[in-house]
């Protein structure tokens, strides 16, 4: 049998139901793949092998009887931000040292109720703050994709037999993989790397400014951030509560639809969970987009954007036009202010959410000469550099005398950003097409990014607007750049219109194909 880890969720689901394979077999295949690959990729911070085997066994009992949920026996990886009962949950921070919650997040509860199997907890940027997965306490995650070089190989002219064929010598090209390690993006870098490297069938992720879509674009995977309020935030470690949303990273559009259907729910435990039934997202896949109006925002043409990304965007436009969509130019005039407004709102909310890490109720405690000294030492030792930086910014913009100038101004600008989108949708636009990121994956320990935090923040320039407006956005792989690295396109939809995103993303996927890294690990 071919490698079980290479089955998509939809294919594995069919084979499990037809009893061609068992949940135990596919789970064991993933556990051994993780064992072999994780030392190189560092995607998992904890592998829950015993739990995975128990869950798979329980799924097999159900499957044997022809029972089971929509994800029965499907092995998944879970981002370390999701509270998982009795299992390491640290948001990849030292400050949550040893934390094992006595509860289960609503999103993971939904997945287990549908029969999914937990393989382990996935690496991420500390508290989801980062765009490269380098801020994790557990070290950076490595992207399974590597740059490749096109070499010209001169072929000698050869003669075969008497009057046989003559192969005309000349030049042929061959790709050589470069050894430089690249980031998988962040903050859901472990999720993206694991999905792309076949270390889980799909993964949970979260997105506050681009943390699902940017890593998906960097690894040739599909990632969707649903509308704010679609997935319950209950039991997920909070970063910026008005922006955080959970969503899946998967190998193709259909798998992302299957996972989101299970993750999304109406939850009385989260007051921002919206009372709307969860549609069958998979049913939207394959529907024609004929007559659909696709908006192309002129403000997403930014200075210094590589030509390849511009070209990819044009390709995306052509694919959708060929499929019968009507392409219209639109303007979202406040786009450039989304990132600066985000860097006020998100740190402000983070500084407040992260006040709870005080060395008293959970996690790390560093003793001090009095209680304040203990707080200060615990937080100094427990938080990494990027987290401290954001807490400091947040504390400053919320401090007396600065609140109006920063926080209030940013929240007003946020309304203007949202209004831009509302105007476009009111004019009849069904979906908006943009690039997902301003570049392909970059190197681990990139000097420019390390020297200037703002350079790293610019990674989210195309994704952050969507969080500020609470809209759904999907990143779908659309091609490879000249060095063989994946690039993605983003589709932005109306609130709670994830179906149109899946429908349109599938058209792009049909045209572009799917992408797999060449295995070196």
């Amino acid at each position: 049998m071919s490698d079980l880890t290479h089955l998509t969720i939809s294919h594995a689901r069919a084979k499990l139901r037809a009893k061609e394979i068992t949940a135990t077999e596919i789970t064991e295949a993933y556990l051994s793949a993780i064992e072999r690959a994780n030392p190189a990729l560092n995607a998992y911070v904890v592998v829950t092998d015993d739990k995975a085997r128990d869950m798979a066994k329980a799924s097999d009992v159900k499957l044997a009887k022809g029972e089971g949920g929509s994800l029965e026996g499907i092995p998944l990886g879970i981002k370390d931000l999701f509270g998982t009962e009795g299992v390491h949950t640290q948001a990849c921070s030292h400050v949550l040292d040893g934390f094992k919650p006595h509860y289960e997040s609503t999103v993971t509860t939904n997945l287990w109720a549908d029969g999914a199997v937990m393989l382990g907890k996935l690496n991420m940027d500390e508290f989801a703050m980062g765009s490269s997965n380098e801020t994790s306490y557990y070290g950076p995650v490595v992207n399974p994709w590597r740059r490749s070089r096109l070499d010209t190989v001169v072929m000698p002219t050869t003669h075969q037999g008497d009057g046989g064929f003559v192969s005309a010598g000349g030049a042929r090209t061959a790709r050589t993989l470069d050894n430089a390690q690249l980031v998988p993006g962040g903050s859901s870098g472990g999720s993206a790397s694991a999905v792309s490297a076949f270390l889980c069938a799909g993964a949970t992720a979260t997105d506050t400014g681009g943390s699902i879509r940017q890593p998906a674009a960097f690894t040739g995977t599909v990632g969707i951030k649903p509308t704010y309020g679609r997935c319950s935030r209950w039991g997920i470690v909070a970063f910026a509560s008005s922006l955080d949303q959970a969503g899946p990273i998967a190998r193709d559009v259909r798998d992302a639809a299957i996972l989101l259907k299970s993750m999304a729910s109406v939850d009385p435990k989260d007051t921002t969970s919206v009372d709307r039934p969860v549609p069958d997202y998979e049913a939207a896949i394959g529907k024609s987009i004929k007559g659909m109006k696709v908006g192309i925002p002129r403000e997403y043409r930014v200075d210094g954007m590589p030509e390849e990304i511009e070209a990819l965007w044009h390709k995306g436009i052509a694919w959708l036009r060929d499929a019968g969509a009507e392409i219209v130019d639109i303007s979202l005039p406040h786009t450039k202010y989304a990132l600066p407004a985000y860097y006020i709102v998100a740190p402000a909310e983070a500084s407040s959410n992260l006040a709870r890490y005080d060395g008293i109720r959970y996690g790390l405690r560093v003793p001090g000469k009095d209680i304040v000294d203990m707080y200060e030492k615990t937080r100094a030792a427990g938080f990494g550099r990027e987290v401290k930086r954001r807490i400091m910014i947040g504390t400053y913009v919320l401090s007396a005398g600065y609140y109006d100038a920063y926080y209030l101004q940013a929240q007003k600008v946020r309304n203007l950003i949202k209004r831009d989108f509302e105007n476009a949708f009111a004019a009849g636009v069904d979906v908006i097409l943009t690039p997902a990121t301003p570049s392909a994956a970059f190197g681990i320990a990139d000097e420019d990014m390390a020297a200037d935090p703002v350079k790293m923040y610019l990674n989210d320039i195309f994704t952050v607007t969507v969080n500020m407006a609470g809209l759904p956005g999907i990143a779908v792989p659309a091609g490879l750049d000249a060095r063989g690295l994946p690039l993605g396109l983003q589709l932005i939809g109306r609130p709670f219109d994830e179906e149109t995103l899946f429908q349109t993303a599938h058209v792009i996927e049909q045209a572009a194909g799917t992408f797999q890294p060449e295995k070196w690990w």
């Binding site: 040893g98 094992k100 919650p101 006595h102 509308t227 704010y228 309020g229 008005s242 009385p268 007051t271 921002t272 969970s273 919206v274 009372d275 450039k336 202010y337 990132l339 600066p340 407004a341 860097y343 006040a355 005080d358 060395g359 008293i360 109720r361 959970y362 996690g363 790390l364 405690r365 003793p367 009095d370 209680i371 304040v372 000294d373 203990m374 200060e376 937080r379 100094a380 938080f383 401290k388 930086r389 400091m392 910014i393 504390t395 401090s399 600065y402 920063y406 101004q409 940013a410 007003k412 600008v413 946020r414 309304n415 203007l416 949202k418 200037d452 935090p453 703002v454 923040y457 609130p495």
Partner: protein, 95 residues
């Protein structure tokens, strides 16, 4: 607006994060880079614009005022670094 070393130390104190002299100096530069970046928001005309309170217009959900949970003190203190008989232990705060 920009911050000086003194302000950075004051903010670190408010955030309850111990910083060394060296940390504070490095942070001053980093925070000023970020504050310089967000400065551009001042050029946006926001007259008559309300600050956002919720991205999705919705009534805040209220649940019934009844006890739905409880009797799990041991679970609540289970992850604390220091406890005694289901109490959190902290350094002495009152002389």
């Amino acid at each position: 607006m920009s911050v000086d070393l003194h302000t950075v130390k004051r903010v670190a104190r408010l955030a309850r994060i111990a910083v060394s002299e060296e940390d504070a100096e490095r942070m001053t530069g980093e925070l000023n880079a970020i504050l310089g970046f967000v400065e551009q928001l001042n050029e946006v005309d926001v007259s008559g614009v309300e600050p956002m309170t919720s991205v999705i217009p919705m009534e805040m959900k209220k649940r019934q005022d009844v006890v739905t949970d409880g009797s799990k003190a041991a679970d609540i203190v289970a992850n604390a670094p220091a406890t005694e008989e289901n109490f959190f232990l902290v350094p002495k705060v009152v002389e």
